[in-house]
């Protein structure tokens, strides 16, 4: 496994060089938080893709498709289509009305202190869920790949944590963006080669490939079964499965458009038109990536077989093991190193959004009422916040251990984004009567309902059968039947925000609506390029 280590160290060395270069270039808050707003459309497109395609979409997704066929493919489709909502509803107005965070958009019309405080709380909650998921994934990957080399789970978690702290603390958004661009390109290159290797096994006859995917034989509860992996129903089974699937589709349709670490990327470009073009670039990259993962997942099911995947180190390793089977140890090393790069880039993106929100929303605007007492203070606070957030994530990831489910934690984060953030962002941008009370109600109801329903749902509550692989935190029958809470929590977030608005008046918010609409649509008065 020394090749893997060499490739990985080469990536780390080049990203540290990027960070050094970015640290010399960044001066001032706009440079640190928004890369000086100088990122080009194609660059931001790749950076958004690199920010979004996480351990869950590389390691988790391929394994899910390899074990559950079409129902795993639904996750691939959902990850992509989310960007239609971002393109049509969010990206351009956000670029024009905000400065550094999601809270900026809400504070534009509403009373800044309460909405910023809640927006920051929601941002930090999502960041924690996302970051822990990535770090657990990184630790598990190292533990499996470098087993015997003396590098264990805890060392890997600490290493990943420290590296992303270096990117964020020293390089800010500029370094983070370039790390994400490089990562997205590496991941795409690997995926193209791996897809080619899979299809070459079928002499590039697609129909032969899909014919093989329609008869996958494996053991289930000790019996040999044969399933068609192009048919739905292996994961989302009655009675609750279909509703869970519809619920998941709501989370996908709205969740990504409320993810703080994705939204802040649109502040790094010079204007709304570039933001728009960068979403289209991201859609090209992310769409082709996810379309190829359907081939990789089915390919793993055909060429390795579900039995083999379950027997050898679980679902998360299906992709790397497929690479080993088709391209040998060298390709396994490359793919594993790229998987690390993927995790590092996402973690850095999540971390900078969290520390920016703390510094800009909480410190500068809530605690000090929008006044920066000394120049550059917010950047110092953001750097300290990044270190604190990183340290907390390292400790929680070590406490949770390598067994926790990576994909589920990430989906929880997206559910919070869909239920708490998305409703208030949309209403703030498009509804004149929206009020501060409405935003407070929407954010708190969406956040509380999502977390509460997950806590009483089947992922946390359940009775473990003796010898079962999974362990439930609370040994009781779940009170809420669905794993994906979006079908309840998303409408609840919207209803609370609307009811709260109708029950209150906010003349200031109504009066400034015209101003917001003009600014959102024309860019008049929007933040300029600096540095």
């Amino acid at each position: 496994m020394t090749v893997s280590l060499a490739v990985f160290l080469a990536f780390v060395a080049s990203t540290l060089a990027i960070t050094g270069w970015a640290a010399r270039r960044s001066r001032g808050a706009s440079a640190y938080f928004a890369a000086g707003r100088r990122i080009k459309a194609w660059q931001n497109g790749f950076a958004v893709a690199g920010d979004f395609m996480s351990a869950a979409s590389f390691l988790g997704l391929i394994g899910l498709i390899a074990l559950q066929g079409f129902d795993g493919i639904f996750y691939a489709v959902g990850g992509f289509v989310a960007f239609v909502t971002i393109l049509l509803v969010v990206a351009e107005p956000l670029r024009n009305t905000g400065k550094y965070t999601m809270g900026d958009v809400l504070a534009y019309r509403l009373r800044p202190r309460p909405v910023r405080a809640l927006a920051a709380l929601s941002t930090l909650t999502i960041a924690t869920l996302y970051m822990i998921a990535q770090m657990v994934g990184a630790g598990a990957l190292v533990a499996l790949l470098l087993a015997g080399s003396g590098i264990g789970y805890n060392t890997a978690v600490v290493g990943v944590g420290l590296l992303m702290m270096v990117y964020v603390v020293f390089g800010g958004m500029l370094a983070t963006t370039w790390v994400q661009i490089v990562k997205a390109m590496l991941l795409m290159a690997c995926t193209v080669v791996l897809t080619g290797l899979v299809l070459r096994q079928f002499h590039f006859h697609l129909l032969d490939f899909f014919a093989a995917a329609s008869r996958i034989a494996y053991h289930q509860n000790g019996e040999l079964v044969m399933n068609d992996f192009l048919r739905p129903g292996l994961r989302f089974r009655p009675p609750h499965g279909p509703l869970d699937l519809v619920s998941l589709s709501l989370i996908f349709a709205f969740g990504t458009a409320g993810l703080p670490h994705i939204l802040v990327k649109f502040y790094t470009v010079p204007n709304a038109r570039t933001a728009r073009n960068s979403v289209v670039w991201a859609m090209v990259v992310i769409g082709s990536y996810y379309a190829m993962t359907t081939i990789l997942g089915l390919g793993a099911a055909i060429l390795l077989g579900p039995d083999d995947i379950v027997a050898h180190s679980g679902t998360n390793m299906a992709g790397p093991r497929l690479a080993q089977a088709l391209g040998g140890d060298f390709f396994l090393a490359v793919v594993s190193a790229v998987a690390f790069a993927t995790i590092l880039a996402v973690v850095a993106g999540v971390m900078i959004s969290a520390s920016t929100s703390f510094a800009h929303d909480v410190w500068t605007n809530v605690i000090h009422r929008g006044l920066e007492r000394t120049p550059g203070e917010s950047v110092v606070v953001a750097r300290l916040a990044a270190m604190a957030v990183g340290a907390a994530a390292i400790l929680i990831a070590i406490a949770l251990g390598p067994g926790s489910n990576v994909l589920i934690l990430a989906t929880f984060g997206m559910a919070v984004a869909a239920s708490a953030n998305f409703p208030v962002i949309v209403l703030s941008l498009y509804w004149r009567r929206f009020t501060t009370a409405g935003a407070i109600a929407g954010l708190s109801a969406g956040l509380a309902a999502t977390l509460a329903l997950i806590l009483v749902g089947p992922d946390v509550m359940g009775i473990d059968s003796p010898g079962a692989m999974s362990h439930h935190l609370i040994q009781a029958r779940p009170w809420f039947p669905l794993e994906n809470v979006g079908i309840v929590s998303v409408p609840l977030g919207f209803l609370a925000a609307i009811a709260g608005s109708l029950a209150s008046r906010d003349p200031g918010a109504e009066a400034s609506f015209d101003e917001l609409v003009v600014r959102a649509n024309t860019g008049l008065g929007a933040e300029r390029v600096t540095g």
Binding site: V77, F83, L230, M283, T522
Partner: protein, 123 residues
Amino acid sequence: MEPRHENLSEQPTQHSDCGRIASSKQFKDLLAVKRMFIIPALAFFLFNFIGFAILVGYAPKLASIRLIGTITVAYLFALLQFVLGWTIAGLYLVASSRFDRLTKDVLAQVDHLPMDAPPGDGE
């Protein structure tokens, strides 16, 4: 009372322009043209994607019908989501060149144009 519009505090002169622009015919045209594209596109997308989830979840027999070789309705519908997403993005790019022209008209009303509006380079 807490301070409002912290973002605008850096450009206080534009406050009055905004009211004037908001009530102008050019701006109302811009919003109408944008709405005419965005609302149907978004409605179609949501209808189609959530419909896809409903079909797969509640009509697994229908979704399992094989259309080309062993490729099922469900898989083709999944691929169609990618094609539709890219198509909507492409159409939006075409439509938005018109939005940008109309935005230029709107901004032409403002006496002192900000330095980097109308939407500038970056490509």
